[in-house]
Amino acid sequence: MISQELLQLLACPSCKGPIQPSEDGLALVCEAERLRYRIDDGIPVMLIEEATSF
């Protein structure tokens, strides 16, 4: 679970725009770039090369 405080600070490493939790809560999503950053064991993996497109 990512805290609300951390969510407000995190940004997409590609476009630096806002990200939000995915519906299933397993990832953080950048709508602008259509990239999904997974959360591994509570740690967001904010790497462009490991993001998946949707």
């Binding site: 805290s3 951390l6 407000q8 600070l9 995190l10 490493p13 590609s14 990200i19 993996v45 790497l47």
Partner: protein, 273 residues
């Protein structure tokens, strides 16, 4: 992909120096298996060296701090008691797993861990009060890109503090192949003059910059990365073969049952105007 933006002369030089596969994969290959060593490293976990970070960073109670390339979280956890919240960022999952264990061990509740790249920080602009990075920029293939990102995420009036290996030039040039022989993800140690040049390029104002010399434990340094004994001996011989100015700076000598020599770090405090 590691930061491809903002090439500088020094970064070009780093590219020229790079002789081994680097980048994120190289860093993970080097530091994944070595993660636990860094929780008890003679340098990284030494309380005197951690006090030095706090003294340089001068954290304030309300600060949101970001420790980049946090490794096993030594610096982040040293800052945690002094600030509102710390985020530790690292490329290597094994390091972040160690961070979490270390945070639990010391009972730090105001820390968060994020996997990310120093050159593509996953943070909004102008949100961080205090940025730190320690003993990691010598791995960055394009330090200028990482410094641009530091400047971007800082609030105006926020501080960025850098501690990294920074020998004088002759010693740096002699140590370079030894560093790479020990750690293939090493790219380049920058001299203090190179650091201040790069910081000016990204608009961070230097408040203080000093080069601090330590009496260095060569074998302890090798042990952080579990270097096999034959290679330790070969690298020790290379170090002891230093001539001229490099030898005068490094002053290698066998004593206390091991090889000792001088080693240096840059301690730099900057502000975003």
């Amino acid at each position: 992909m590691l930061c491809l933006s903002r090439l500088t002369d020094v970064d070009e030089r780093a590219r020229g120096h790079r002789s081994a596969p680097g980048g994120a994969a190289g860093i993970r290959a080097t530091f994944g298996p070595a993660a636990a060593n860094y929780s008890r490293s003679f340098f990284h976990a030494d309380p005197a060296r951690l006090d030095e970070v706090v003294e340089l960073a001068r954290p304030e109670r309300a600060d949101l701090a970001l420790d980049v390339a946090t490794g096993t979280g030594n610096t982040a956890l040293a800052l945690a008691p002094h600030v509102a919240h710390v985020i530790g960022l690292d490329l290597t999952p094994a390091m972040l797993a160690e961070c979490r264990r270390n945070a639990q061990r010391v009972g730090a509740a105001n820390v968060s861990w994020v996997q990310g790249d120093a050159c593509q920080l996953p943070f909004a602009s102008g949100v961080i009060d205090l940025y730190t990075v320690r003993a990691a920029p010598h791995h960055f293939s394009e330090l200028g890109g990482a410094l641009s990102e530091a400047a971007r995420v800082l609030k105006r009036g926020g501080h960025a503090c850098f501690i990294d290996c920074s020998p004088p030039e002759a010693a740096r040039d002699h140590l370079h192949q030894i560093e790479i022989g020990r750690d293939p993800s090493h790219v380049l140690s920058r001299t203090l003059a190179e650091w201040t040049h790069l910081l000016a390029e990204v608009g961070l104002q230097v408040e203080s910059a000093q080069r601090r010399e330590l009496d260095w434990d060569f074998e302890g340094w090798m042990a952080n990365l579990a270097i096999e004994p034959d290679r330790v001996e070969a690298l020790a011989s290379k170090l002891e073969a230093a001539k001229g100015q490099a030898a005068r700076e490094l002053r290698p000598q066998r004593r206390d049952g091991g090889l000792r020599h001088a080693y240096w770090h840059a301690l730099i405090r900057t502000v975003k105007p």
